[in-house]
């Protein structure tokens, strides 16, 4: 569809109820823990209470003696010889020689009831030799830090660094020293962010069965069941093709459900228990201790700016730990941190560091919020020092379509300028501020992703359509895909069903990650629909006995394309579908690809807040999200993504963090103490959807899920500075920290 055809859209851009909504609000939707099978056993996992310990002995005698205990597994039940990320996944699934973090699985048991399984888990005796541990990223790469795994570094790491540094990167262009020399003001600061968890409401849950023949089935709450299949198969040394994985409804993921945790354990337990299904449901404290939070970061940023706000050079050196395995998103953090700025001289250095914490997983724009906190805080500070308007400085340095990104390649179509202009026009910038109140502003970025995508759609005999996608719906993608398919077919929204189907039903799909579901599955669904339309036109042409090319599809019907094609009344989809059994059989469409044309998304946030000067407590007064959606297929779910990203970012900025005790054990393992914002903490988050259509998508879609978590971290720090004059460089800015800073003022 051409860009200028958008004004003719009937459904795209409207806000119908989501197809999964009624089931969710009435409790009919089946989530991971709702699934059960006859003869099912319950699994429980024994977890290390130590941050770093050699596993000397595991004695399951007492557990195995309990009546009703059907299987006990340890690492000895897993294949050996894995390498690379497969080994990392296996080691994280079940500890081998050493437990690498508090909560690391060391054994698992299956029994006839949940209580019995938990009792048996308590009876498994593990002898540990406790080793020195390290939690903080800077401490982990300092001389003398405990070595978590020798030889884990890859080829990029130069000689002479601590063995906990496992990846190193460096990139940039121009001459940063010359650039700093041109500046009127050069500032350099160090920033830190703490690890946070995605905080999805639904804990991980799965039911698996695997027979002696090596064939397995699994029902699991996940963002990507093909990933679960591939990773579980690798970890267990089985054929992925023998494993069929069905996704359940999902209660949040935010990146944290794109990988495996206890899923292979349930398969291994089932196999050892003679093929009986095994269900494992994590508790909240298991989720916080042993699934993947995000990385923590320590970051140095140096920027040079002229008196009129032109950035002459920029340098970032980021150190991030992503737990006891390689994979902290330091690369993404560096790519995104200066992405909004047109820079001739820029240099980036990154270290990926091991620490005795759980293996990090993706979390909404992984790395980008950390980097934005550092860079956007410093830009704000420099604007204030030079007496410049922070929005104007972003406009002055801001990238536009075709500019070279700070990380190398040139940008395709982007809408940063349009976002900044929309911020300037918003009334919140004029709202009066009282005593101890402040306003903060920051910009954020995410690339967005395409990924392997396979979609099928079929026309029903009644002229409706059923679409099968492989990307679990974590943000309203079923509604958006239904709108796009209905628009393309020219039929009502209610006539399109969209189902997330199992691994046996489609080609490989990457998970719903990288803000890709509405972009990639949506684009593929439109392509598949076009294929079905072509077939329907062919059926009409055959009926009319005219050329296939002489038929066009308009408003849900085939019609002769122009007066020369023939004079027939339009043949509706219902008519064609009703007799398809006699005209050649079922009509369907498929599309498989890694769709090109990904559109990146910039956003900018404005926060007004108040600081209680006696307690350091921060109250968010007003919050504005402005972001480029390309085109909002279903504006309510775009707004939902903007608001959700902002809410998570506010939590990260103010109160969320992994708190470890001196033994390296996680102290705050329940939501009571892992302080995500509650509804009453937040004002209604205002949104402005900017639409700079992405030419790479038939309806102009850009992914919108991730960018929104990026600006809140610096925007809040900047607002706090505006309110009370202190510059907070270490998140979270919780009341004890802020009060201490106020007293030191």
């Amino acid at each position: 569809m051409a860009k200028d055809g958008f004004e003719t859209l009937k459904l795209v851009g409207t806000r119908p109820n989501r197809p999964d909504g009624l089931d969710k609000v009435t409790g009919r939707a089946r989530y991971g823990a709702d699934f059960s099978l006859p003869g099912m056993l319950w699994g429980a996992v024994v977890r290390s209470p130590h941050a770093h310990a050699r596993i000397v002995k595991i004695d399951a005698t007492k557990a195995e003696a309990l009546d009703g205990v059907k299987a006990v597994i340890t690492r000895a039940d897993f294949p050996t010889g894995l390498t690379g990320e497969d080994w990392n996944l296996q080691e994280n699934t079940m500890a081998g020689e050493k437990a690498l973090y508090d909560g690391h699985a060391v054994a698992a048991v299956a029994a006839t009831s949940k209580l019995l399984a938990e009792q048996a888990a308590r009876l498994i005796e593990v002898t540990y030799e406790v080793l020195p541990h390290v939690i903080d990223v800077d401490a982990a790469m300092a001389e003398g830090a405990p070595v978590i795994r020798a030889g884990a570094a890859d080829a990029t790491v130069p000689e002479g660094l601590h063995p906990n540094v496992v990846r190193y990167m460096e990139f940039g262009r121009g001459d940063v020293d010359a650039g700093f020399a041109e500046a009127d003001l050069v500032m350099e600061r160090t920033y830190k962010t703490e690890a946070t968890h995605q905080g999805y409401i639904e804990p991980h849950a799965c039911v698996s069965k695997m027979g002696a023949d090596g064939k397995g089935e699994m029902w699991v709450c996940t963002q990507g069941h093909w990933y679960i299949r591939k990773m579980s198969a690798a970890v267990l040394g089985i054929e992925a093709s023998q494993l069929r994985v069905t996704p359940t409804e999902i209660g949040g993921g935010f990146g944290g459900k794109t990988t495996i945790f206890m899923e292979p354990l349930s398969l291994a337990l089932s196999k050892k228990a003679g093929g009986r299904p095994v269900k494992i449901v994590m508790s909240r404290s298991e989720v916080l201790r042993a699934t993947g939070p995000t990385a923590s970061a320590s970051m140095d940023v140096k920027i040079g700016m002229t008196k009129d706000g032109k950035i002459t050079a920029a340098r970032a050196e980021f150190r991030m730990q992503g737990g006891a395995f390689p994979g902290a998103p330091v690369d993404m953090a560096l790519y995104c941190c200066f992405a909004g700025y047109k820079l001739a001289n820029v240099h980036h250095v990154g270290y990926d560091v091991l620490a005795n914490r759980p293996k990090c997983a993706a979390y909404r724009a992984p790395g980008s919020p950390n980097g934005a906190f550092a860079v956007e805080s410093l830009v704000d500070e420099m604007c204030r020092k030079l007496g410049l308007d922070p929005v104007e400085v972003r406009l002055k340095n801001g990238v536009t379509t075709g500019d070279r990104a700070s990380y190398g390649p040139k940008f395709g179509s982007i809408g940063l300028t349009e976002v900044l202009e929309a911020v300037k026009a918003h009334p919140q910038l004029q709202a009066p501020l009282g005593e101890n109140q402040g306003r903060g502003f920051a910009v954020g970025y995410w690339f967005n992703h395409n990924g392997e995508t396979s979609v099928s759609m079929a026309i029903g005999e009644d002229g409706t359509a059923q679409v099968s996608v492989g990307t679990p719906d974590i943000g309203g993608s079923r509604a958006s895909i239904a709108l796009m398919v209905a628009e393309t077919l020219g039929i009502p929204y209610e006539d399109v069903g969209v189902n997330v189907v199992e691994t046996g039903a489609l080609g490989v799909n990457e998970p719903t990650h990288g803000s890709r579901a509405t972009f990639a599955s949506g684009k593929a669904a439109v392509e598949a629909t076009q294929a079905a339309i072509k077939e329907m036109c062919r059926r009409a042409a055959a009926e009319w006995d005219i050329d296939d090319e002489a038929v066009e599809w308009v408003n849900g019907a085939a019609q002769p394309a122009g007066p020369n094609a023939g004079k027939f009344p339009p043949m509706s989809i219902k008519e064609i579908a009703g007799k398809m059994g006699q005209t050649g059989g079922p009509i369907s469409g498929h599309h498989e690809s890694v769709p090109d044309g990904v559109g990146a998304s910039f956003g900018a946030h404005v926060v007004d807040l108040e600081v209680d000067p006696e307690t350091g407590r921060v109250t968010i007064l007003r919050y504005l999200v402005v972001q480029d959606a390309g085109r909002a297929i279903h504006p309510s779910y775009v707004e939902g993504q903007y608001q959700g990203g902002a809410a998570q970012g506010i939590g990260w900025a103010l109160n969320e963090e992994y708190v470890y005790d001196d033994k390296g054990r996680l102290s705050n393992t329940v939501f009571l103490d892992y302080r995500v914002p509650v509804a009453s903490d937040l004002p209604m988050i205002d949104t402005v959807i900017v639409e700079v259509p992405n030419p790479g998508h038939p309806f102009g879609v850009r992914g919108v899920g991730e960018t929104g978590i990026t600006p809140p971290l610096p925007a809040i720090a900047n607002a706090i500075h505006d309110a009370v004059g202190v510059r907070m460089t270490h998140l979270p800015i919780n009341p004890p920290k802020l009060l201490a800073a106020l007293k030191a003022r």
Partner: protein
């Protein structure tokens, strides 16, 4: 696990006295059931008190005070106009516990017996001068609320003893109380510091006061020095500063996941001032 549902307190006491393993009393269950689910406490004997007649009642005592049954949930306290008029600080403390759902079950007695130094309802009871009626193997005795907590998760109740009611004294004239807690969020959190103030006025002068602090020591503290700082004053700025200093001086907190020692010391003073102002306004008849 054995589940018991006695119909009088003497039987409940006898069951507990005769039990040999881990014993828990069950009323609202908002602590006990959660601890059981988390595997933290696995009782051998669980004694449900809700079948005992009168445990869900709030009744006025002969002296004009209030007798609150051990199974009265927070939501019922919050809906009781007479109790709220007399002891708004006690009621607001209880009503801060947990969520709306938790309020439907959680009780004052349970909050006290859970033994948390951060229990939101306890400072208000202590400031109010409330007492508890204890049924035990040797009969019934009455002690001050502040004598019950013995440290985190511990009480001074002996084996076989259980609380059979909480009794608030008559409020009397020209008096008011208030409870404030500090949490970084707005709800669904545990007090980092809590403070209750109860006072009586003669004209604008404070003639009686009790100040209690939560979450700044192993037990809830009754801080007489803080009360002394405002008795005889009109709660002027000097008195408020003296109150804050006394509250901070009495605080003896630890640094943990919920807040630092230094922060808690400071906030004890801040909350004492703020709570005292509210109690003062209430004593003046303002509905703040």
């Amino acid at each position: 696990m054995r589940y018991h549902s006695p119909t009088d307190f003497a039987s409940a006491s006898a069951l507990a006295a005769g039990a040999s393993g881990v014993t828990r009393f069950l009323s609202g269950g908002t602590d006990v059931l959660v601890q059981m689910r988390a595997g933290m406490v696995l009782p051998d004997d669980l004694i449900d008190l809700k079948k005992i007649p009168g445990v869900s009642d709030i009744t006025q005592t002969a002296g004009g005070g209030w007798r609150i049954g051990v199974a009265v949930p927070g939501i019922v306290l919050g809906a009781h106009e007479g109790l709220k008029a007399d002891w708004p600080g006690v009621v607001e403390g209880m009503n801060l516990v947990g969520s709306t759902q938790v309020q439907g079950r959680a009780t004052l007695t349970g909050n006290l017996c859970n033994g948390s130094p951060a229990a939101d309802s306890v400072p208000g009871l202590v400031a109010a001068g409330a007492v508890v009626e204890i049924t035990g193997p040797t009969g019934v005795r009455t002690v001050a609320v502040e004598a019950i907590p013995a440290g985190p998760g511990k009480t001074t109740l002996a084996k076989g003893e259980l609380i059979s009611a909480i009794v608030l004294p008559a409020r009397g004239d020209n008096a008011g109380d208030a409870y404030l807690r500090f949490i970084p969020r707005t709800e669904m959190d545990i007090a980092v510091v809590g403070c209750a103030v109860s006072l009586r006025l003669s004209g604008d002068t404070i003639t009686e006061a009790r100040v209690a602090l939560g979450a700044v020591a192993p037990t809830v503290l009754l801080v007489s020095a803080a009360a002394d700082a405002i008795i005889g004053t009109t709660l002027d700025d000097a008195a408020l500063d003296a109150l804050a200093a006394a509250a901070s001086a009495a605080a003896n907190p630890i640094t943990d996941k919920r807040g630092t020692k230094e922060f808690r010391v400071e906030i004890a003073g801040v909350l004492a001032k703020r709570a005292a102002k509210i109690a003062f306004a209430r004593a003046k008849g303002e509905t703040a």
